[in-house]
Amino acid sequence: MNAPARTATRAAGTRTPLVDGIEKVTGRARFTADLAGDAAVARILRSPVAHGVIRRIDTTAAEALPGVLAVVTGADCAHPFGVLPIAMNEYPMARDRVRYRGEPVAAVAAVDAATAARALKAIELQIDPLPAYFTATEARAPDAVLLHDDKPGNVEREVHHVFGDPDAGLAEADLVRTATFTCAEINHAQMEPHAAVAEWVPGREELIFHSVTQVPFYTHKHLARCLEMDPAKIRLVKPFVGGGFGSRTETLNFEIIAGLLARRTGGRVALVLSREETLISHRGRPETEVTLALGMRADGRLTACKAEVVMRGGAYAGYGIVTILYAGALLHGLYDLPNIRYDGYRVYANLPPCGAMRGHGTVDVRHAFETLVDRMAHELDLDPFTVRRANLLEAPLFTPNGLMVNSYGLPDCLDRVEAASGWKERRGKLGPGRGLGMACSHYVSGAAKPVHWTGEPHAVVALRLDFDGAVTALTGAPEIGQGSSTMVAISVADTLGIDVGRVRVVCGDSATVPKDNGAYSSRITFMVGNAAIGAARNLRTELAQAAAAKLEADPADIDCAGEVFSVRGSAQSQLTWAEVVAAALAVDGPITVKGSFTTPEKAQGGGHRGGAVGSTMGFSYAAQVVEATVDVDLGRITVDRVWVALDCGFAINPLAVEGQIEGSVWMGMGQALMEETRYAEGLPLHASLLEYRVPTIADSPPIEVHIVESVDPLGPFGAKEAGEGALSGFPPALAAAVADAIGLDMDALPLSPDRVLEALVAKRRAAQRAKRREDA
């Protein structure tokens, strides 16, 4: 049992406000744009054309304008960048060819915003248009012009995975149903627009770079690559970051551009993007079409699944290969379902590139799966909970596609939300227009294989202890509001037996912290948490030796709790923290230790091509019930209440775990109810927070959170992830609630009022037609 008992003196498991929270509530927190000061103002010139060949870029007039400090174009960087070493096909500014409206083609730095704006207008840009494709179907047409010459059919990646015998499975079923679901493209819409502040240090030829990134290490690498610099000459700083949700999980073009401009000006430049530009930078969840066939026996047991998934990925690779692999891989690992066929197609189109977004790869497919399960349960007259319970896994196990499942709290999650929502008593009795729906979901706790494979540990945390008695934790794990620094502080404090307040967490400055892969795939708690515990154990060992020497005891018998060292079983011999620190430092001066975490080989997925994606040390599991009311006159859905239970293994910080679950459920609600991008010939119609609709507080229901702790054998204190697993359950739970409320099955997301009303009208017409046929 690696989970600590919850006691008053233990830090792990205690509701802990964020260690960097004071700055946020007082206005002292400095985000990237707050660091601009008197930096030169940078602006990007973007392509007005969706697809075309660049014939001419003339920057002479712009460069001649008084107050213009630098102009750069695609000619200034010949190195492509991209998240996957095997799929780097994007340049910071287009060279030769543009592939989406809004793609950067040039950039300027000037003394002020007005001059920068004038300079952009003074750049002459001539592009010869090519045919452009805005849907996956158009792009895949046989005669379509290729966006990338090496990708026939404009298909970035095809995946065909078969596990078990899906055909035989479907043949065994009492009920087979097939449906096609269309899920709109959505964006992260993190509250902080993109920004970078880059400073070139002339003489030392160094670059000091501040950015909104979730992946400082990757951005550091790509800056070095694109600027042809020794990485040692770059210092990458991540200030306070205003949310990410995947939007900054890869290096972005504006970051490289800011670096190029800083070097060209030989000074500081601030490149702060507008909301429109931030939306154009995109990397959101792609428009996805899921065609799903499921087989079910009369008792609710699932026999087989066949899924075909087509994603419109935008103009460049980004995370596309990972996304299309995730979509198939995470068909596994939630239920006991041995027969699965998956066919995935990631398609290029002349739109801003998609990328990773919270619940990466799994959300739209899970929506389709759970929704179809709900419909089939209805058809077989089975309770949706019964169907889920008929298909549970029994941990530990490996799924057919090689995913490791060591802990599985889904049964508890089901029990908790079923009871809390009053499901048995209330369902079907809520009155007209009101309904209850439920769904399950899961997510990885860190990708077991990083995208940049180096052979290094997945995470390293260093601890320093000096004369002041503070423990400084150095971590590259980017705190972006999710509470990772607080998790590190708790993990260190708990392991050492000291107050959380004694731990000072330094994160996100490459000059001081060990490399970390970044804030994505819900990896930090599992990986960095384990590394932090490891580092703290090493420090504890040194302190125990010092204490043991003073107390004339065996170091193995030394305990520290509440910052007091004692010999186990002896009430007399006690030393204070300060006394032990002084003794330990006297041995060899200030202490630096580290801890690391490497994923076990067996966690790294199946041996099939693409088998590493989806592999993880442990899955979070979630079940939720949504209560909704439908206004059939206006097609409007009100989400009245949500009950959600999530198995996070162990809640190191229950306060933050709740916050993550609430936030992820709510983000699923945004996708389910209203969020969608839309383009007019590739121009984003949704280019503002008025047209890209993020739910307001007036749209947002109470969310009742239940934390389930299955205590994962490999997790830090038994913990797994908590910030993504519940998201993908919301859309299908809402669709089920709508079906329960008004008997309407919807095949598209979001369930916006126009879609609901049109479906209602269509349903009424179909009923009338049927009645007429009957009468005739």
């Binding site: 429109e276 006159d633 009022p753 049109e758």
Partner: protein, 329 residues
């Protein structure tokens, strides 16, 4: 540093006389009060003005004045937050307060004024975008271009007028007081608007809306709008309804905002009614609204939906007011 606004001079006249002088001196000047409509447009480069005239220092500009027989004068400078909680608008004319309460968010309502809301610019997906965006799209009929992307075959701009307040005020028979170079004139509010998204205000050169007059009213009123979110969003269809006690029965007035380039006062439903409303009457209301509103593809949500929502709201409000009137008897 946000995108720099174009240069302009800000004036703040303290009397109608100095306002008139300013308007003669700088005819291209744009008027500003709360700024919640003008400044987003300035930021997007949609306004080309060498000067702004701030109206908030004008005398009696933000007063609610009771007039004879229960009529009411609302100063154009009243903030929407004040309208939302004005006791004068708590009773029969509560539709006005309801509409004010539903505009944007609280901070906007603290700034935005009645006059500004009624004179706000029309809106369109192809217009309320950045200069880069509009340039990439060849601009549009409303501003700097010659094609309406919403109705390319048409000859006029189809941007929608999305003032919440216009609908209930028209339903309640409001008139507006306009101060101009040759003095003051009164106009039915409905006549302030033209069915042209690029030129939707029937103001003479130099004219300023200084007040709204509400005639005496006995009855009930309500406002409801369809929108995707319960806050912030403009109405994609908003309906103001007034059910007036008249000799021999009741009379219903309906006005719809958010669907057309001007608010639409629904015609053909103004005969005296008996309560409760018959199914025939409700069907007539439904049909009248569907026929008279002409939403176009100027919003993210479909025009078909906006039409259906407008009629559904109208029917619902009429029924609700009729029930309330019956209960009150």
């Amino acid at each position: 540093m946000t995108e720099a606004l174009a240069d302009f001079t800000l004036h703040r006249p303290e009397s109608l006389e100095s306002l008139a002088i300013l308007r003669r001196a700088v005819p291209e000047a744009r008027l500003i009060a709360g700024g919640t409509d003008l400044l987003p447009n300035l930021r997007r480069g949609l306004v080309d003005a060498p000067a702004l005239i701030d109206l908030t220092a004008l005398p009696d500009f933000a007063e609610i004045e009771p007039l004879a027989q229960g009529a009411l004068r609302l100063g154009a400078g009243l903030r929407l937050a004040d309208l939302a909680r004005a006791p004068e608008l708590a009773g029969p004319r509560q539709a006005v307060a309801e509409a004010a309460r539903g505009v944007a968010g609280p901070a906007h309502r603290n700034a935005a004024t009645l006059g500004g809301n009624l004179c706000q610019d029309t809106r369109c997906l192809y217009y309320n975008q950045s200069d880069w965006w509009r340039a990439a799209n060849g601009y549009c009929l409303k501003y700097r271009g010659d094609t309406c992307h919403v109705a390319p075959q048409g000859k006029r701009c189809r941007a929608a007028f999305a003032s919440d307040l216009a609908a209930p005020l028209i339903a309640l028979g409001a008139e507006v007081a306009l101060a101009g170079p040759v003095g003051e004139r009164r106009l039915p509010l409905a006549d302030l608007y033209r069915d042209d998204g690029a030129d939707h205000l029937a103001l003479a050169p130099g004219e300023v809306l200084i007040a709204v007059h509400l005639p005496p009213f006995a009855g009930l009123s309500a406002y409801e709008k369809a929108r995707q979110r319960r806050a912030i969003d403009f109405p994609i269809a908003g309906v103001g309804a007034a059910l007036a006690r008249v000799t021999g029965g009741w009379r219903l007035s309906l006005a719809v905002t958010g669907t057309d380039s001007r608010p639409v006062a629904i015609a053909g439903i103004d005969d005296a009614l008996d309560l409760p409303l018959s199914d025939d009457m409700l069907a007539r209301i439904d049909k009248a609204v569907q026929k008279q509103v002409t939403p176009m593809r100027s919003t993210m949500i479909s025009s078909h939906y906006r039409r259906l929502a407008a009629s559904a709201l109208a029917r619902r409000l009429a029924q609700r007011l009729a029930e309330q009137a019956r209960d009150a008897r």
